[in-house]
Amino acid sequence: MNNLRLKPGTPVLVIGAPSGNALRHMRLMRDYGTNIIACVTFSEGGTGIDGIASFTNCADAISATGAKVAVTLASPDTTGHAVLEAAEAGVSLIISPTILVPIHDTLRVRRRVRDLGTVWIGPGGTGLAIPGNSINLGVTPNEILRPGNIGVIAMPSTLSLEVGFAMANHHLGQSMWIGVGVDLMKGARPSDFVPFFAQDEETTTVVLICGRGGTDEEEFAEAVGHFGFSKPVLALLAGENAAATNSSFSRFLESRQLSHFVKIRTALEQAGVAVYDGIDDLIGAIPTSLPQ
């Protein structure tokens, strides 16, 4: 994970952004200051988009521009191919905000990407942002990002963005925002970032926004315990109180496999993580005596 702390101006390759929302997000990333120097559209190439050089494959794009990082804005059925091509062409970090990617695609690609030593964030999730270095890779809204010292690991996108809006309202900034998503099968998992945040000098507090669908939170807790984290770690686990007081709500959550509250809370608290069930409570608990 040493390749996460990207320097300002890191050259970025965007894959699959010829039109529509993908193009809109590419422009938003650029507006934030992200140095997008190449696009890969697989079919067009050559002419360029918004003045950015366009290529038909990742290897050509990387050898011509020196791109170090890739953001895939491809469709769900082509995301696996895009990630694989970018990893094999040599980028060290890939961000994939695309949702609804087939699990077996992720499974096959994730295995290969791991063997190549590439960090893959996604699919789904909002992506990676480093506000202090004016880098936004993915679909995290620019308006919730500001330089600060909070390391955010965001699982469910919409709930995480609400936390982001609340942070912005309270003038809280992030050392890094990592939106990993809630897919069962994903690239990097929340626990993978624990060693990084434990050592990152820019981060004084870590916030995890829980998803409750799998084992990610319990793995995260185990990693926090293992690394003997000295920084405050806070987590948002939304919905537990309502489930405890309403049986129909509780049954519904169970049917959607969203009811692992007790297991998650216990694991996190045993690792020393402070767990909150409301956004305001979470925001209020973030240490503010340190510079944000």
């Binding site: 087939p102 295995r111 469910p156 919409t158 919905g239 489930a243 049954r251």
Partner: protein, 363 residues
């Protein structure tokens, strides 16, 4: 398959049983799945069918009961393949005669074998072969034969989980798959027209998936007497909002997760959800909270405003569109129903809902 309670003839000879009478309903997860009833004769089959038909489980009505002959097997094998997100592969689980079945407690003295392997049929079969070396000869050959047939299906249909329980192994060495649980990845369905066709043919059993596929809508009534209708996107955010409402002593009527890419002009997604919400007998207010994420919030706002104009309802609606400039939102909703109030942030929206629900509450 019984769709109505059968008539039975007391004078006729009963065919050889015993029989298992199973309710046919969509998967509710292991914890909430109802059991089957064992019947010894035709009269008991009819009684069991009578117990199942028409009953509801988690909102799903039992419209059919399946009758199966109980297998009298010499051995019961257990075989499971599932995607393994931690080891990034496929986890194989094997057991026999009571071990390995995740639906019932594992007998501690029975061997239970598991390992994770590469995601391809050859690797999975090799893993089964290796693990089954610890099994007795009377079981091993059959487990390997079943795995050889099932591993290609697991990958071919892009399953998340495929569990055989039991794999019935008879005295003569023949075997039969007693029960299959196969969880398919909805995201991979577009590559499987045969599965889509199956769902179309058996719409009653797959209505939730069909609604997600066709309308981009996941909807469920949580409390039929609930006061607050929800029209929101993001599963976790909706659950958070339901919890927030409950902490304010308000009862949410429904769970919903709209897929933003479906919220475009002319789409049925919002209309369908809104019509279901306003049909709630005690709805006092509707909270609409939408976040764009990958989609453009302005496109969502325009589609929402257009649809709400077409829905005749006096029920107050609070609309909050995350990340949208309030003035731009106001322009889009100009000329909309007078019962719509725009909120600039989530807390304001929740306060408005609370106030309106209090005003509307019967004295």
């Amino acid at each position: 398959m019984l769709r109505q309670v059968p008539k039975y003839d007391e004078t006729a000879d009963d065919p050889a049983g015993p029989w298992l009478v199973k309710p046919q309903i969509p998967d509710l997860g292991l914890k909430r799945r109802p059991d089957y009833i064992t019947a010894q004769n035709a009269r008991e089959v009819a009684e069991a069918a009578n117990q199942w038909l028409g009953r509801k489980f988690n909102g799903h009505k039992v419209s059919a009961a399946r009758v199966e002959r109980k297998l009298i097997a010499a051995h019961r094998g257990y075989l499971c393949f599932e995607c393994d997100p931690i080891d990034i592969g496929v986890r194989v689980r094997l057991g026999f005669d009571g071990a390995g079945d995740t639906a019932t407690p594992v007998e501690p003295d029975k061997p239970f074998m598991t390992d994770s392997t590469a995601p391809d049929p050859t690797a999975v079969m090799a893993c089964v072969e290796r693990l089954s070396e610890e099994m007795p000869d009377t079981v091993r050959t059959q487990v390997n034969a079943a795995a050889g047939m099932l591993a290609p299906l697991f990958f071919g249909y892009e399953a998340i989980r495929l569990a055989i329980n039991p794999l019935a192994i008879f005295k003569d060495g023949s075997w039969m798959v007693g029960n299959v649980e196969m969880q398919i990845d909805e995201n991979g369905l577009f590559r499987h027209p045969e599965l889509i066709s199956l769902m179309d043919r058996r719409g009653d059993n797959y209505s939730d998936i069909q609604r997600r596929r066709e309308l981009g809508l996941d909807f469920s009534v949580v409390d039929k007497n609930g006061q607050i209708g929800l029209l929101t996107n993001g599963a976790a955010l909706t659950v958070f909002l339901m919890a927030e409402l409950r902490s304010r002593n308000l009862s949410p009527y429904n769970y919903v997760d709209l897929r933003p890419s479906f919220i475009i002009e002319g789409s049925e997604c919002i209309k369908t959800a809104m019509n279901q919400i306003i049909a709630g007998p005690n709805i006092q207010t509707v909270l609409i909270n939408l976040v764009g994420v990958n989609s453009d919030i302005e496109v969502i706002a325009k589609a929402l405003a257009q649809t709400l104009r077409q829905i005749p309802s006096e029920i107050p609606i609070v609309v909050r569109l995350a990340g949208m400039d309030p003035d731009a939102a106001k322009k889009i909703f100009d000329g909309s129903n007078s019962n719509i109030t725009l909120a600039s942030d989530l807390e304001t929206a929740l306060q408005l809902v609370e106030r309106q629900a209090t005003t509307q509450a019967p004295s």
